[in-house]
Subunit: 134 residues, 2 copies
């Protein structure tokens, strides 16, 4: 079986960019600038990624974490692969601010997402693409 994006990720996120086998997706939630990286693989655990994809993932985590922190003037970057609800491997990178909607708790399962307005979504997608040199 090949890779097919999980329906929950398809519903809650939008494709911002591709870097090799990695999709960079923007979560549709105005409360946080929140990215997920989805490797186009059937692996469900980080440690099951082939070495080359893992290296690309870590390089991207570093690059996006740095860019997101600077862009949002974030107090903290939260980075995680959890997957208890959506088993398809996806790696979160989230800009956090003291006093944000979930602070200091993690964002997962915290309240309702606030859908992005079209201008904000477009601006975020453009930022992500510029960070990746697209």
């Amino acid at each position: 079986m090949g890779f097919t994006l999980h329906p929950t990720l398809a519903k809650d996120t939008v494709l911002a960019a591709r870097v090799g086998p990695l999709q960079v997706r923007l979560v549709d939630d105005a409360r946080f600038f929140w990215l997920v990286i989805v490797p186009e693989t059937t692996a469900t655990e980080l440690h099951d990624l082939d070495e080359k994809t893992a290296q690309s993932l870590w390089a991207l985590v570093r690059r996006l974490g740095q860019a997101l922190k600077a862009h949002c003037d974030a107090d903290k970057i939260n980075s995680a692969a959890i997957g208890n609800m959506v088993p398809q491997l996806h790696f979160h990178i989230i800009a956090r601010h003291v006093g944000d909607a979930a602070w200091p708790k993690p964002v997962w399962g915290h309240g309702k997402a606030e859908p992005l307005g079209a201008p904000t979504r477009a601006a975020r997608l453009e930022s992500i693409q510029s960070w990746l040199g697209n």
Copy 2:
């Protein structure tokens, strides 16, 4: 300023092993087999780690994730750097099971830790050390 272990990490975890500049620590919570990797650095974000330490961290995340999953017959490994409460950089690796004390939610901030009994703590420390070839 050099590295000093954050008092919360000192209180809630115990040193299991050292791999270069990385401390592998066991969280004192019987509800989950839960590790944190603490790089001996003043960096607070993953993307601020020097390249060599980052590579060692990812290699260790892979090794411990694999070992923990097999050892615990875990349904999922949760991996994260959050740090909203404890800013010192620490990377969680947690074995999760369907129906465990927090499932399917993340473990952070979920209820009260149940301190490990001495025999369980000793057994876990021994397992970790054996996975790392100590």
